[in-house]
């Protein structure tokens, strides 16, 4: 029995959430149904609503930031938790129901058996029929090109937050260089340059779940600027290789 424990991989499901009181319970419930027995950690990023209580009521472990710090910071808190508790693989997904938990096993397999450090759940590999507005499509196409070129492999969905990370990748993302706001294509490039192996898994995403998108108003422009600056700087900065 003890030996079997040793050989079994330890997996953590990580869900960053900010003001998701309406969705979080259903998300956690679906995840637990899909991956029974696997611990679910919700990082509540300073929500002003009932996110924390509802997540806890649905059986997830909850860590709460004292104030809102952004998506990336919430992910990183989860990574730090995973490292301190000795998890081998982190499966991360959004708390708004956009990511279909049925693809969690496929993502996990890609990391634990496929020898990949970062498995990206891509909505553009045939599963589902994801439709986005033209502006968003343009942005995704742009980042797809940039990420694919810089990573030396085809990356179809560099802005996907539905990912599985190996322990090496989690260690890398727990470093100070991980951005606090929106980790996206720039982080993929950074990880590639640090010697981590990337791979993609087809997933289905629900486009309308994110009614109030974080990309609205002037933010997309700032986002574009930030992403390109970040990628450009990553290219002239020497990356410490991942252990």
């Amino acid at each position: 029995m003890a030996e079997e424990r040793e050989t079994r991989e330890r997996i953590l499901i990580l869900i960053p959430a900010f003001n998701e009181e309406e969705k979080i319970q259903a998300v956690v419930r679906d995840v637990r149904k899909e991956m029974p027995g696997v611990p679910v950690l919700v990082v509540n990023d300073g929500s002003g609503d009932q996110t924390e209580a509802r997540a806890r009521a649905s059986g997830a472990r909850v860590l709460t930031h004292p104030f809102n710090m952004g998506y990336g910071a919430a992910l990183q808190t989860g990574y730090k938790y995973a490292l301190r508790h000795g998890f081998d693989c982190v499966l991360q997904m959004d708390g708004d129901g956009q990511h279909d938990p049925r693809y969690l096993p496929a993502l996990r397999r890609e990391v634990l058996e496929g020898g990949v450090d970062v498995a990206i759940g891509s909505r553009f590999l045939g599963e589902g029929d994801y439709r986005a507005g033209w502006a968003r499509q343009l942005g995704i196409a742009l980042f797809r090109r940039v990420a694919s070129t810089l990573c030396g492999q085809r990356i179809t969905d560099p802005t996907s937050g539905y990912q599985a990370l190996s322990r090496r990748a989690v260690e890398f993302c727990a470093l100070d260089s991980f951005p606090g706001d929106y980790p996206d294509a720039d982080v993929l490039v950074m990880m590639h340059r640090a010697g981590l192996r990337l791979g993609e898994v087809p997933v289905r995403m629900h486009p309308n779940a994110r009614g109030r998108s974080m990309h609205s108003g002037l933010k997309p422009l700032y986002y574009l600027y930030k992403m390109f600056l970040s990628i450009a700087l990553n290219c002239i900065r020497r990356e410490r290789p991942a252990r």
Binding site: R10, R61, V62, P66, R84, F87
Partner: protein, 120 residues
């Protein structure tokens, strides 16, 4: 440079320097941030009193009026100090982020003392 221009520049600089010293004395400003301000005040006083240096400097940077030189250096100083503040703010927000994450992790531990490790 007219006499009252000189008087104004010197008095203004001395007032600022006195204010900085007073703020440090009352511990409202940390010593490490005061030296840049004091240095600027001192440089302005020195340039006004040692007029030949100001003229030489004006010729060196290609300006025409010596007062321009004072303004240019004043502006440059302000830019440097703003940049310095930006760096400080970046550093502080990074520290705050790390601390808040640590707080969340520790609070999770305290509130769930019997929290199991990874389920196997």
């Amino acid at each position: 440079m007219f006499l009252h221009q000189k008087i104004f520049a010197v008095v203004a600089s001395l007032l600022i320097m006195a204010l900085v010293v007073e703020l440090v004395r009352r511990r409202k400003l940390r010593e490490e941030y005061s030296w840049l301000w004091l240095l600027t005040g001192a440089v302005i006083v020195a340039l006004v009193l040692w007029y030949d240096l100001l003229v030489a400097l004006t010729r060196l940077i290609g300006a025409i009026a010596p007062t321009t030189t004072l303004f240019i250096f004043g502006l440059l100083f302000l830019m440097v100090i703003s940049l310095h503040y930006s760096i400080q703010i970046s550093k502080l927000s990074h520290q705050v982020k790390t601390m808040a994450q640590e707080l969340a992790l520790l609070r999770g531990k305290v509130e769930e003392p019997a929290e199991p490790g990874p389920e196997t």
